[in-house]
Subunit: 163 residues, 4 copies
């Protein structure tokens, strides 16, 4: 497979100055590393990562919930209009070879869960902590990261290992 690595970036959809800067740096670093960014195409972290990546010359595919591509933020270089509402969360994480979660509300938690169900490694930057009911192995696979640089490095390494 010679396609460029695809990394999904998920997180809080409402504007947040601090997380927005984190997302922007994650986007920039992913673009500099040659990775394509997959995101949910809307605001907050989705807009931050798209801005960072496309400003650095990278490719960003935003997968919006509605049937209307115009709902995407202006930094996405390509838009997929899924038309399936919040079920597009499944598409976002399934399309990443690894996933970086930045903050996040309930929608982000649904994406973390879908990512792990599909076997995608997740790198968490100030995001959800989850504890399964019992000591089962599938509570694993979510790696914390301290800053954008290490999150991007880890995600790309995990994606490479999964190829």
């Amino acid at each position: 497979m010679n396609r460029p690595t695809q990394i999904a970036v998920i997180g809080k959809g409402t504007p947040d100055d601090e997380l927005g800067l984190v997302a922007e740096e994650v986007g920039r670093r992913l673009a500099e590393a040659g990775a394509v960014v997959i995101c949910g195409g809307l605001g907050g972290v989705m807009e931050g990562v798209a801005r960072g990546a496309s400003a650095a010359g990278g490719t960003v595919i935003g997968i919006v919930p509605s049937e209307d591509p115009v709902t995407a933020n202006l930094w996405c270089t390509h838009v997929i209009a899924a038309g399936t509402g919040s079920a597009r969360n499944l598409a976002v994480v399934s399309s990443g070879e690894a996933v970086i979660a930045i903050g996040g509300e309930w929608g982000t938690l649904s994406e973390i869960a879908y990512a792990r169900q599909a076997g995608r490694p997740v790198v968490a930057l100030a995001s959800w902590r989850v504890t399964p009911a019992t000591a089962i192995t599938n509570g694993e696979g979510i790696e914390p990261a301290d800053d954008p640089a290490s999150a991007v490095e880890l995600a790309i390494a995990l994606a490479a290992a999964a190829r």
Copy 2:
């Protein structure tokens, strides 16, 4: 709205003797209370709750991932073949006025997250514990329960309060 109350029951999909009995009792009690059970239509907790409810004369709608209703367990009285894979998780919880989670793996966590995003109250029986990144109000809305009787009582009360 004169429709009977609909309660979604979610949980571990692989067979588990202990959780299966819990699910069966939850199903029986929901049917005795006149509630319609919505579930994912497959095995494990989904089969246990369907068996308990339909054996008690209740109605069980199983929403399976595939386009093929034959994939549903035999205790569902009606089958919806969503055709949308794991995205049917969104349909399961959106169709419940309240949600009862019993154990659960990653798929169940995606359902808990979707339920809370859509504002559905969740009652947890030996299921996931989740902690949001920051002190935000939307980490709320998941109520623990100790046994099937109290889970059913709580779910029906929460559903009634939401009407």
Copy 3:
């Protein structure tokens, strides 16, 4: 499989006096024959068939596009809130053992196509006529009917033959 037969009824979603009466009679006859009606849960033909079936004491499951069951018409006895927008069209027809199309706009055409792709027989009452590009067998499987009585009789016979 001892479940009652499920018949999907699809058609024009905007109000239409003539088609509404046709749909209502189809619903009544399906209920009298003991079949469960699956429909899209909204207005027009979906409301007509739900009214006819539930007024005759039948069961009607409406699968609405949104995450909100309140969007369903009041004649549905149960509501599935798919949350996947127009992609719920796939769920409607996949959940029927046979499909009856009454009139219809573009959404109905997408359902006829999905039904045939999944191998469900379609009975058409004043609905779309389609012609494939070339003489391929999969242009088959859509049977015209002249009135509600013959449409219901044919759909139930086709469903029985497919069990």
Copy 4:
């Protein structure tokens, strides 16, 4: 909106020598015109158009039904793994500013219907002919084309007119 024009190309999924060549020329011409190709990512017409476009240096986003990007044909430059089965048909056409249909079976017909429901213009190359039940305006919007060159020219003009 400064994004490159996105054109969805849909059609017969099983291999077909003649349609494969048509699809390949359509892909090449779209890439030469600077348009991004959106397709279903699998075989037949989807593979032909992807090969033609990427061989000409273009961008091709394949939206596959499963959660697994490995199921995409090797000519897609980017892959979206929708995870929603045939419901991904809605994403394919909603993501195009115009749609080109080449031959096609039932899945293609569902896409033509979804495209028109969402208001996307459709250009048909040896594809389905459809006739609505009654003389309603929404039977319009499907333009026939005689060859790949005129199909591409027409689709790009229709997309430009819709911006």
